[in-house]
Structure formats: structure tokens, C-alpha cells
Assembly symmetry: C2
DNA sequence: GCAGATTCTTGCAGTCACTGCAAACTATTA
DNA sequence: TAATAGTTTGCAGTGACTGCAAGAATCTGC
């Protein structure tokens, strides 16, 4: 019979993955994300470079250390949201919780700054976000029917987060969470009440 | 006295750049964007590989062959838009014209499909778009004052385009231009009239 | 039209990311 | 414990990209 989750093999894999993401984040913070080499990360985690690339398709994925649980729980929540809850509200609740988790781990500041400061990290984050978006959009379309609106809501939610973090970085007057709130408000109520009134 | 724009040197540089982007696009279409090598592109344009990398920071930039004029004209238009024109309308007019130009060049289909089909191209495009976004947001903030709203409008406009193209790719029932129109409508009027009414 | 300053191109050597393959190793299962 | 299936590793190779210094072109003032 298969041991599935509990087996030694499974545990070792998790350990190795954790060791790699930890080492990757630590080294990236120490030396700057673009000057860490895959070799250093592998060495710090005490595995071969080849093994490192068995775990991650790109060096950047290790530094991003994305938590696959986030996407899964988001999909779950979209599917099981109460009928009376409007779709953007669902997205907002999801975003709020993810944000909350990240803050709790103290990661938003450290990792967030790291990511925003490095084009290659940003690029890979967006790469994986766009993949997520596709899945989230599909789930939301399932609920509300309108594919365009579903896709826009999901993408706009992502945009709201990004804009909030960028804005917070530019002038840290307000907390990211407040900025995200405000952004969602704007998206919900409309970005422009006078749209096309002024077009020739 | 400097010859500036008209000199032979300047003309040759433009020629070389054009030869490189042309070769890059042609080869990418022929063999798929991920299997073209920098060496092939350089050879087709009859320059050394080293020279290729003097012109473009990444292989992908040559394939994208972005037109810097588009950004400049957009910035210009934001700055000089009539006072009675609402900001999202301005963005919509800009997007519509860029789209129109691309269609006219017959590039939207060829290059657009190429880009959408290749993760690495897509992300290089987004990376450069994010740079544009920053500049466009700054210009729009200048006009309307509210940085959050300006940033959201610019980012959302970009999102609208991307979503429209993706959706068009999924099921080409409707023209990209119509999808963009619909997306802007939704963004203008609000993605979700019932926002937060259903939150516990 | 020419010498000298400026700018481009090029080859070369080197670093690093990433891949496929096959051998060695280790957990799992019967 | 023996067979099996999954994991790790070294190795060799491809390709992106960079810095450097030499050579070739263009441009400038005269």
C-alpha cells in the first residue's frame, strides 16, 4: 500500500524544497537577487545544482518561494462562495487574507521589496500570476457566466495589488492594505463616471 | 558641427536595427520564438552576435520590435488632452489608435499571436509595458491629481487590452476591438455594483 | 583632403542558466 | 530480502549574455 503523504520520501522532498527556498531567499537578500547563482543556493541547501533544477524550473522560482496552497485555497473559495456574495467581494476577501498571511510571516516587506527591485523576479512573479489568473478566471466564469467580466475582475484584482504595492513603495504614507481597499472600491464603483462624455 | 540625425553613421545604425528586428521576427515566425538563436538572427542580419547584443539587451527585444513612437505619442496625448475629456476616455482613445495602427501594419495577428504563444515573449512585453505604465501614470497623475486613480486607470487599461486579446484567442467570436470596448465600459461603470454587500 | 578624435563592430574568453542522459542511490512494496 | 519505482548526481553540452581590447568606419576641425 502506498504511504502517500506520510512517507519518508515525501518528507525528505518537502525538507529539500524548504531548504532550497530558504537558502534562496536568504542569499538573495544578502547579495541581491541577481548576483545569487544557482550553484550557491544548491550548495547552501547541500544538494547538487542538478537537483536544484529538478525542484524549480528557474532560479527565480526558488527565491519567490511561492506557496501553492494559496492558489488552491483561492480556487476553493471562489467555488464555494455564498451565492449572495458579489464576485469582486470574493476576490477582495481572498486578497485580504493572502495579504494578511504574508504580513504575518513578515514576508511582504522583505520579499516584496526584493521582488519589486528586481526585474527578473518581477517577471517571473508575473509569469506565475498569469497562470493563476487563468485558473481563477475559469473558476469565476463558472460562477457568474460572463467570461469577460470574470476575467476583468480577476485581472483587476491582481492589478490592484500590484498598484498598491508600487504606490506604497513610492511613498509609504499609507499601508498597503488600505491602498488595496481603496483600489477595490474604485474598481467596484467605476474608474470614470464621465467615460466617453468628452470623446469627440 | 554635428550631423545629428542625418549622418551616415546614424542611418547605418537604423538600418542595422531594422535588419535585426526584421530578421528576428521572420525567423521567430518560421521556427518558433523559442528555437531561434541569437546567432541565427545575427547571421541573417549580417552582423556579429556581439553586435546584436549591442543593439538589444535580450533576444526577445529584437523579436518584440517595439515602436518607441507609441509611448511618446501616448504621453503627448495625455498631456494635451482637452480638459473636458475624462481620463479613461483619453486612455481609450489612445488604445484604440494603437490597436488601429497595429491592425493596419498587419502586425497584430502575426506578431500578436507569436507573442501570446510564447511565455518568454509575453513576459518581456509585460516587463516593458510596466515601464511604460509608470511613465503614463505619472503623466496622468499630473492631470488628475489622484495618484491611485491615475495608476489604476493606466494599469486597468493595459489589463483590458491583455484580457481582450486573450479572450479573443480563446474563442475568436468577437473582434479584439469590440472586446476592448466592452472591457473599458465595464471598468468605467464599475466591475461590481454589489461590492461588499455580501461580505460577512 | 587629411590627421586625430569619436564611435561601431568584432572576436575572444569567460560566466551562468538550464537540459538530457545514464549511473548510483534510496525508499517502498510484495 | 529482492524487485521496483522514484530521487540524486555528475557530466557534457547548448545558448544567452558580458567585458575587454583591437581594428574599422565615420566624423570633425583644419
Amino acid at each position: 500500500m502506498s504511504q502517500g503523504e506520510g512517507g519518508l520520501r515525501e518528507r525528505k522532498k518537502l525538507q529539500t524544497r524548504a531548504a532550497l527556498t530558504d537558502a534562496a531567499l536568504r542569499l538573495a537578500l544578502e547579495k541581491g537577487p541577481d548576483s545569487v547563482t544557482a550553484e550557491e543556493i544548491a550548495e547552501a541547501a547541500d544538494v547538487s545544482v542538478r537537483t536544484f533544477f529538478n525542484y524549480f524550473p528557474h532560479k527565480e522560482y526558488a527565491i519567490l518561494g511561492r506557496n501553492p496552497a494559496h492558489l488552491e485555497s483561492a480556487l476553493e473559495r471562489i467555488a464555494t462562495a455564498p451565492a449572495e456574495q458579489s464576485p469582486l467581494t470574493t476576490m477582495w476577501l481572498i486578497v485580504r487574507d493572502v495579504l494578511h498571511d504574508l504580513m504575518a510571516e513578515g514576508e511582504l516587506s522583505r520579499r516584496g521589496e526584493l521582488i519589486m527591485g528586481s526585474p527578473s523576479l518581477l517577471y517571473h512573479l508575473m509569469l506565475s500570476s498569469m497562470d493563476d489568473e487563468r485558473q481563477l478566471s475559469a473558476a469565476l466564469t463558472e460562477r457568474i457566466g460572463d467570461p469577460l467580466r470574470a476575467r476583468l475582475i480577476v485581472s483587476a484584482a491582481g492589478t490592484a495589488c500590484r498598484v498598491a504595492v508600487e504606490l506604497h513603495k513610492d511613498g509609504p504614507d499609507s499601508a498597503p492594505a488600505d491602498l488595496v481597499d481603496a483600489a477595490f472600491q474604485l474598481l467596484a464603483q467605476g474608474l470614470d463616471p464621465d467615460y466617453q462624455k468628452g470623446s469627440s
